[in-house]
């Protein structure tokens, strides 16, 4: 790929929104006009990323996944077939794709779900090899995944669970544990940000929660853990309009220039609330297209058929 294509490709990412977020990138690339439709392989994005980072102080890379392959544990069923993805601080990535394309598997592999086995490739999170770490260590390092359908834990109150997980992270960071009262003080603003009532804390973890309550609870955990990279696996599924807005607003409220979000979704609607910097299309365990929010709009209009026809 020559430099010209790289430059054109990069300009495709430089939406005005990105320009606000990373002025350094736009100042060089001068994205005055955007091609109507441009798609590139994700490899190109990485190349651009490397090129850009070598030239200036662009945001730090949070997560870098290269050539990741994974199978269902104990079988030969390959789900991921060479995933490549780089996420920098301050970015919002969205992965879309048909059912069974490996989106959820990708997120589960990143957090170390025992159902999957990594067979090749690397994932570097904040400069450290992710696959060397246990799931809880990945969480301590600042990686968070919201579960698509979080499991119910009868007998454990939400409050205790949140405090345990918060204190586990604090212990890993060498900070003192928070007592029940201190923790409540820490928690209540986060609760109100999600429009959640404090009675929520007395209930058992996810037990008897509605779909919306479960998703809110996941975001509450994200808020408590103050993760650097939040992987949100279909947080829009099963939510009504109001709940979606609450959840999206809470996620937006948690965004900082030093953290990032990776969303997995089927619908454009979520992307209206949480604006993506990049949209990736997954197919058969790989990212086959990368673009900006426009890509999701095209997808919404024409379906996956239209995209593959266009490529």
């Amino acid at each position: 790929m020559d430099a010209m294509v790289c430059l054109r490709a990069a300009s495709a990412y430089s939406s005005p929104r990105l320009a606000l977020k990373s002025p350094t990138a736009t100042s060089i690339l001068h994205a005055s006009k955007r091609p109507a439709f441009l798609c590139i392989r994700n490899v190109a994005a990485i190349e651009i990323g490397q090129e850009m980072s070598s030239r200036n102080d662009s945001p730090k890379v949070l997560l870098k996944v290269e050539g990741l392959t994974a199978v269902v544990a104990g079988t030969d069923t390959e789900i991921l077939r060479g995933m490549n993805l780089t996420i920098r601080e301050g970015e919002v990535h969205a992965i879309m794709g048909k059912n069974g394309s490996g989106k959820s598997t990708f997120s589960k592999v990143l957090v170390g779900h025992p159902d999957y086995e990594v067979t090749g490739g690397t994932a570097v999170f904040k400069g450290e090899d992710l696959f060397e770490k246990e799931p809880e260590e990945r969480s301590h390092a600042g990686l968070f995944m919201s579960f698509q359908s979080p499991v119910e834990v009868p007998g454990v109150s939400n409050m205790d669970f949140l405090r345990m997980s918060c204190n586990a992270r604090r212990a890993a960071q060498g900070l003192p544990e928070l007592g029940p009262l201190e923790f409540y003080g820490f928690l209540s603003p986060k609760l109100s940000a999600l429009n959640m009532s404090p009675t929520f804390l007395d209930r058992n973890v996810n037990e008897g929660f509605s779909g919306g309550e479960k998703k809110r609870n996941e975001i509450l955990q994200l808020a408590v853990l103050e993760a650097d990279l939040a992987i949100l696996d279909e947080i829009d599924s099963g939510l009504d309009v109001d709940a979606l807005r609450d959840v999206a607003n809470a996620v937006n409220g948690l965004r900082k220039s030093t953290n990032a979000v990776l969303m997995i979704t089927h619908y454009q609607r979520l992307l209206d609330y949480i604006k993506p910097t990049f949209v990736h299309i997954m197919e058969k365990g790989q990212i086959v297209k990368t673009g900006d929010a426009l890509l999701a709009k095209q997808l919404e209009a024409g379906g996956y058929e239209a995209l593959s026809a266009g490529s």
Binding site: G112, E134, S139, P150, V153, V156, F161, M164, S165
Partner: protein, 558 residues
């Protein structure tokens, strides 16, 4: 009866963990025994049964769940046919127990004689003595027609009582006036907290007998009129079953005093009524055979129309003593009445605890049992609940914890005979040692006129050590044709999905496991109405789990 068809669904699972076995089943998920296609039966008495006996060997880390769900709803009659060798034995199980013996059982004869010699408490009036002697005579007759239950009897198949038969059993004769227990330890701070204390089967102290029209105390404190009006009419009459059960009859012979609770019509008691059963005397320690000191406390609870009460029953005893507490509780609930029954069995580890709970529920009444069985070497709880009118509600939640050389056995029988009954049962059992054993037989019988019954039953067991064993048999007998009934059993290790959820939130797997093991039981303990009781039960369970190494010692109570 002749025109009805019976759909009997029973699931019998005997499961033990044995280390280092090959993977029998997928790591997670339910193993389903799918019911066969529905077959309509000819309108004759026919039985069908769903279920099988399953013997399994599994790795402790594997999770095996067995679930059977039977739903019969709408007017269509469905019966499930699955090949089952144990059908006949299971259906007739309740009858077998009462088969008359072919000759006198010397051990039983001897024991009955010793019990008959016991005097009534001195304060008892003539009417009171008459009420109890009637029970004694009847029980003596029954006992002598029954044999000591052995494992050849279905109801005691997994409950080995031979050690008890091979020991000396001596009834407690001298009952201490002072139990030496601190009432404050049980959350009873003053005489205003209504309570009743049994010491070795005889009432040793209580709060004032009459309060706001409610009577709590010994039969000795009741007037003759009240005894005639309440006790004589009701004692031993909660169900026919109570007069045919071996241990209930044994209790009937050995009864020396009766604890009575009368909640009159319309009285809704706000504070709970606390009953403590304390055993202090153990069997003599010299002699070749082990000796057990037998006590037979008995309780009669009468709840009037639209009356409500929460009853806490706690069984405790002196550590290190060998005693046998053979208790019976009878509960009568009138129309629209309500009992919340919280029951904690925390006997000494060498003790034998056998208890019968018999409930008679009239129309629109509600009975809710929350039970925690933690102590004793052998625990057997028989629950017998009978509906006497439509629209009743029955809930049972039980948690049994079996450690080293402990047997925790729960047999429940719920008989629904009237329309629109509601029933829920949740049985949870943790076996944390290879020599521990959990037994559960939960029977729900839906009779012909019990249409629109909604009955659900679930048994969940957690095996934490190789060779830890549970034997569970949730079972339904359905004659009515318009009902919604389900039952299921899961025997497993902890769910990996739950452990991963904790890990994904930064909590290490050991802490996650410990928390989940504790919460397995806490789900039931949380249902105790009294916070003090809940906290004490949680503390006891936590300490026991820690002492057996089932959970980390650093885990703090939530």
């Amino acid at each position: 009866m002749a025109a009805a068809s019976i759909a009997t669904s029973s699931l019998q699972v005997s499961c033990s963990t044995i280390a280092a076995e090959s993977k029998l089943l997928p790591r997670r998920g339910f193993c389903l025994f799918a019911p066969g296609k529905s077959i309509s039966l000819p309108p004759t008495l026919a039985t069908s049964s769903l279920g099988s006996i399953i013997g399994m060997q599994r790795h402790p880390n594997l999770q095996i769940s067995i679930y059977i769900d039977v739903k019969i709803h709408g007017s269509a009659r469905k019966n499930f046919w699955v090949k089952n060798s144990a059908t006949a034995a299971e259906i007739s199980s309740s009858k077998q127990q009462n088969v008359p013996s072919f000759g006198p059982d010397d051990f039983v004869f001897d024991l009955a004689e010793k019990l008959e010699e016991l005097d009534y408490v001195s304060a008892l009036s003539a009417t009171g003595k008459e009420a109890l002697s009637h029970l004694r005579e009847h029980s003596a007759e029954t006992t002598l027609s029954l044999q000591w239950p052995t494992n050849k009897v279905e109801a005691y198949r997994f409950t080995d009582l031979r050690f008890l038969r091979n020991s000396n059993v001596e009834p407690v004769r001298q009952c201490p006036q002072d139990t030496g227990i601190e009432l404050a330890d049980f959350g009873i701070r003053s005489n205003a907290d209504i309570h009743l204390v049994f010491a070795d089967g005889v009432i040793s102290s209580s709060s004032s007998n009459w309060k706001d029209g409610v009577f709590v105390g010994s039969i000795a404190a009741l007037s003759d009129d009240h005894i005639e009006e309440f006790v004589i009419k009701k004692l031993g009459k909660s169900a026919e079953w109570i007069n045919t059960d071996f241990f209930a009859s044994l209790n009937g012979i050995g009864v020396r005093e009766l604890g009575v609770v009368i909640v009159p019509e319309g009285v809704k008691m706000q504070s709970p009524l606390h009953i403590i059963y304390h055993s202090s005397e153990g069997g003599s320690k010299d002699g070749e055979k082990q000796s057990y000191a037998l006590s037979c406390p008995r309780l009669l609870v009468l709840v009037g129309k639209e009356a409500e009460v929460t009853i806490i029953e706690e069984f405790v005893g002196e550590k290190g003593e060998f005693y046998w507490s053979n208790a019976v509780g009878e509960f009568f609930i009138e129309e629209h009445g309500r009992i919340c029954h919280n029951y904690v069995q925390n006997q000494a580890r060498e003790a034998v605890h056998i208890k019968q709970t018999c409930v008679a529920q009239k129309q629109c009444s509600s009975y809710e049992l929350v039970e925690a069985a933690i102590g004793s070497k052998l625990n057997r709880h028989n629950i017998h609940i009978q509906q006497l009118g439509p629209d009743t509600s029955t809930k049972m939640s039980s948690f049994l914890l079996a450690g080293q050389r402990q047997l925790q056995d729960l047999h429940s029988r719920l008989i629904l005979s009237h329309p629109r009954g509601f029933a829920r049962q949740l049985h949870k059992c943790i076996v944390m040692h290879s020599s521990g054993h959990g037994v559960f037989d939960g029977n729900v019988k839906v009779n012909r006129y019990a249409q629109q019954t909604d009955a659900g039953q679930l048994s969940r067991s957690l095996l934490l050590a190789p060779r830890a064993t549970v034997s569970v048999k949730p079972n339904l007998q359905i004659i009515a044709d318009d009902v919604k009934c389900s039952h299921g059993a899961a025997i497993s290790d902890l769910e990996e999905e739950q452990i991963f959820y904790f890990q994904a939130r930064g909590i290490d797997p050991q802490t996650a496991r410990s928390t989940l093991v504790f919460s397995f039981g806490a789900e039931i303990l949380q249902q105790f109405k009294n916070k003090n009781l809940q906290q004490r039960a949680e503390k006891t369970v936590m300490e026991f789990l820690q002492s057996e190494g089932a959970i980390k010692t650093s885990i703090q109570e939530a």
